[in-house]
């Protein structure tokens, strides 16, 4: 664990990408293979199943530290991270150990078979054998949410450096339904069998936002435009008579969307579609909130299936007749996609994402303004002769979203962030005016610079009116422009609305509270865009 803890520290101590990649590449060359595999798993969002509740961890840590639980909780609220609080609060270990990462993961997974007293013993023993950083890592393995400041892209780059295998190849090898139990470093990374995993998806190609408009993109004839749909990006895979549906977050969501069985019936074997899963009724997209009801559910009751039916709006074909065709130009992939979908009857939940007909950028700009009326977020631009790349790469795919909706709101509650943002007030609740009253209507966590977060944090500390646990009511003084992508009616919220992707787009130092927007303004937006 010392080697892994040292890696964690090295990654945590620098903000420089090259240093992070170098540290990780070193580790992936030197660590035992099972540890390498687990590290790759952790950095691609796979973690051991939780075998101890956080309630028990808190209790045991407080007991071991000889402090009352209330003091533990107070400490936690300052640290902002449970794993770290426990690591800091425990007495120093009485035994030295340097067992590999895989050993500790095995210990953690073994807990599920034990009764509570034995679990307690095993955890106390582990804590007593690990130094502060090692303990922190160990606790993180239990509690999850392991972020090491390394994106999947950087991890793949580091693995490429340490193995000499091409980054894109690796990105594909690391996709799909594998777990450290079901494979080895050798089988996953070094010598994979391409037929081993029928469900394996391709790495998604991700578009960059087109900030300055399309004028710099050259001849419009070289570009294909589509509407940008607001659903869940997904890959539908049909191989050897089986179908699999993957989310963009690489979660296998086949069981949550059983209706795609009908789609798979009409698709030839060896087909992989890339598209957007959308709530769909009467040939129109449903609001995202309807789709949301489906996302959280592992199984789907009949009623929900009827209330929030979905389709896949397909926009790309990655595998055709069992062959990886990502290297072919977009125009040919699209032609093949069209040919396949032409064979699919309308009762199957598959629709081609239509191309937007346009001749000039001016013309497209005007069409883009109609996005919201079409339940789209803007337009997508894809270069006709481009291959399907992996990850976020600039140049061939662009998303050109419509400008967000905005409203000026008053900050009324603040809460500290967690993890990297612990000790910093980053989570805020905003209100609009309603006569003399302030009506909360949204939370927002992002959009400010680090300097602004530091500044607002210092201000919150000095301007707290009331505390409700971790939440502080602050003096209503600061106005922020809140940007959001959509607005929906919501009976669950006091204000009656729910926003899509709210964030702080500007700190309006120039505005005072009485210049913030009102509840009537918000209702008018709901009327216009809801």
């Amino acid at each position: 664990m010392n080697r892994f803890a040292a890696l964690f520290t090295a990654l945590d101590q620098t903000t420089r990408t090259t240093l992070k990649v170098a540290a990780l590449a070193d580790y992936l060359s030197a660590a035992p293979e099972p540890d390498r595999l687990w590290t790759i798993a952790l950095l691609s969002g796979r973690r051991p199943k939780r075998t101890v509740t956080t309630t028990l961890l808190r209790k045991w840590a407080a007991e071991r530290a000889g402090i009352p639980l209330w003091l533990f909780e107070e400490s936690y609220s300052i640290v902002g991270d449970l794993a770290e609080t426990i690591a800091l609060i425990l007495p120093p270990p009485s035994q030295a150990s340097d067992l590999p990462l895989t050993h500790w993961i095995t210990v953690i997974r073994g807990l599920s078979a034990l009764g509570e007293p034995a679990r307690n013993q095993a955890i106390l023993l582990a804590w007593d054998q690990l130094g502060t950083t090692q303990r922190f890592v160990f606790n993180k393995l239990i509690t999850g949410g392991f972020r090491m400041g390394v994106s999947r892209k950087l991890m793949t780059r580091a693995l490429s450096q340490s193995t000499g295998i091409d980054e894109s190849d690796l990105a594909h090898r690391l996709m799909g339904d594998w777990a450290p139990d079901t494979t080895t470093f050798q089988a996953l990374v070094l010598a994979p069998d391409p037929t081993a995993d029928l469900s394996r998806p391709y790495p998604y190609y991700l578009a960059y936002q087109l900030d300055d408009g399309p004028d710099g993109l050259g001849d419009p004839a070289e570009w294909s435009a589509e509407w940008k749909w607001d659903g869940i990006r997904g890959q539908l895979i049909v191989r050897q008579g089986q179908f699999h549906l993957w989310s963009r977050g690489e979660e296998l969501i086949t069981d949550r969307f059983p209706e795609f069985a009908r789609a798979a019936d009409h698709l030839p074997d060896g087909t992989v579609l890339d598209g957007e899963i959308l709530g769909w009724r009467d040939e129109r997209p449903l609001p995202f909130s309807d789709l949301q009801k489906r996302i959280g559910r592992k199984t789907v009751p009949k009623k929900l299936l009827a209330d929030a039916p979905v389709i896949l709006r397909a926009y790309d074909l990655l595998e055709h007749g069992g062959e990886d065709i990502r290297a072919q130009p977009f125009a040919s992939r699209r032609a093949a996609l069209q040919a396949i979908l032409a064979q699919v009857p309308p009762e199957a939940p598959l629709r081609l994402s239509p191309e937007i007909d346009f001749d000039t950028w001016e013309g497209l700009r005007a069409l883009r303004e109609t996005s919201r009326e079409r339940q789209a977020e803007g337009v997508m631009l894809k270069r006709r002769d481009s291959p399907y790349r992996d990850g976020r790469k600039k140049g061939d795919w662009w998303k050109w979203k419509v400008d967000p909706l905005t409203i000026d709101a008053v900050m009324i509650y603040a809460q500290q962030g967690h993890g990297r943002r612990a000790n910093l007030f980053t989570d805020f609740t905003f209100a609009v005016r309603d006569g003399e009253a302030l009506v909360p209507f949204t939370k927002a966590y992002s959009g400010l610079t680090d300097a602004e977060f530091n500044r607002i944090t210092a201000w919150v500390r000095k301007n707290t009116l009331e505390r409700y646990g971790p939440v502080r009511q602050v003096r209503p003084e600061h106005v922020f422009e809140i940007a959001f992508e959509g607005i929906q009616k919501s009976p669950r919220h006091k204000s009656g609305v729910a926003l899509r992707f709210p964030r702080m787009s500007r700190w309006r130092h120039d505005k005072s509270v009485d210049q913030a927007n009102t509840l009537d303004d918000l209702k008018a937006m709901l009327e216009a865009w809801g």
Partner: protein, 336 residues
């Protein structure tokens, strides 16, 4: 409550029996000062009383003041009370102030730490009936490593940077922390450069007899290339400024008790955070309080609400005293 030796006022802790204040934050006639940090030694008082070792820094910072000194352990009669100063181990010359009136002994801790740092006069427990203690780090998440361990970390970091041809910029308070770091840095690794605010304090402390390693003051004419592998000791607020950028692709570090918290460490966006504080950690606070034998403990500055509740759980008669001290602050880095 009428026989309290010290009471809390809007100007600071006041002793009615001696008609003086301790570390007042608004102008008063007579002020007893625990140490020279800006939140404890403020301008505008009629007269000041401090230890001889604290005096030069105070004169430097506060200019022309009426300042008398009192040696550690010397008992002085002021009005109806006897007063003496005792080492607090916080910075050179820092003191706890003991006030006795009619057999009742009260002690004001000022800022303190109990681990001897080999540099300032070590903390001395003073038995008392009531102890007014700071609790900047009054949560069980704060436990300091021995100084030697942290010193080793700093020197290793410096040596690694020097080996790679990078300067090391270390942020620390100009009074106390900077000199404590100087006293543990290994001059064999390379030259030590200092920010003007740090070097001003160095000069004062050297003049009063403290031994510090050789340092080179950074001036507008300083060429970093003339000092390869240097460690640059700067105030925290100088990190990341144009002043610091002259050293090129340097590694920066920051030494503070708050560096124990990952969130704060990352927020500082320094490459390294070293956990070193001139305040007592959780075990230190508890040890110090026990050693006084006090039944009554008044807590100030820090996690007062939590710490008071903890002390009550432990059977003390505990209260909170509101003060304006900032100490080793989480929000503003430099009390200088």
């Amino acid at each position: 409550m009428t026989d309290d030796v010290l009471i809390c006022t809007d100007r600071g802790l006041y002793c009615p029996g001696g008609d003086f204040f301790i570390d007042p934050w608004r102008p008063v006639d007579r002020a007893l000062i625990t140490h020279g940090h800006a939140d404890h030694a403020r301008p505008g008082h009629g007269s000041y009383l401090a230890t001889p070792a604290a005096a030069p820094v105070m004169r430097h910072r506060l200019g022309d003041i009426t300042l008398a000194t009192i040696a550690y352990g010397e008992v002085r009669r002021i009005g109806d009370v006897s007063v003496s100063f005792h080492p607090a181990g916080h910075v050179p010359g820092s003191a706890q102030i003991r006030v006795e009136q009619a057999g009742q002994v009260w002690v004001v801790s000022g800022d303190y730490k109990i681990e001897p740092d080999g540099f300032c006069e070590p903390f001395e427990p003073v038995p008392c009936h009531a102890f007014i203690t700071e609790c900047t780090f009054g949560l069980p998440i704060f436990t300091w490593q021995p100084q030697a361990v942290v010193a080793e970390q700093v020197n290793q970091w410096w040596a690694a940077n020097a080996a790679e041809g990078r300067a090391s910029i270390l942020g620390a308070y100009a009074l106390g922390k900077a000199q404590r770091l100087l006293s543990v840095l290994d001059p064999e690794i390379g030259p030590i450069l200092t920010h003007g605010a740090v070097e001003n304090t160095n000069e004062i402390l050297r003049a009063q007899g403290l031994i510090l390693p050789d340092t080179i003051r950074v001036t507008p004419e300083t060429n970093p290339k003339d000092h390869p592998g240097a460690l640059v000791l700067a105030t925290p607020s100088a990190l990341g400024t144009p002043w610091a950028r002259r050293f090129g692709a340097a590694s920066d570090g920051f030494a503070s008790g708050w560096m124990a918290l990952r969130g704060v460490r990352r927020r500082r966006a320094a490459d390294r955070g070293f956990v070193m504080s001139d305040h007592a950690d959780w075990p230190g606070l508890n040890t110090a309080i026990r050693a006084t034998g006090a039944e009554r403990v008044l807590v100030t500055h820090g996690y007062t609400t939590v710490f008071r509740r903890w002390l009550e759980d432990q059977g003390y008669n505990a209260q909170i005293v509101q003060t304006d001290f900032t100490g080793e602050s989480l929000d503003e880095e430099d009390p200088e």
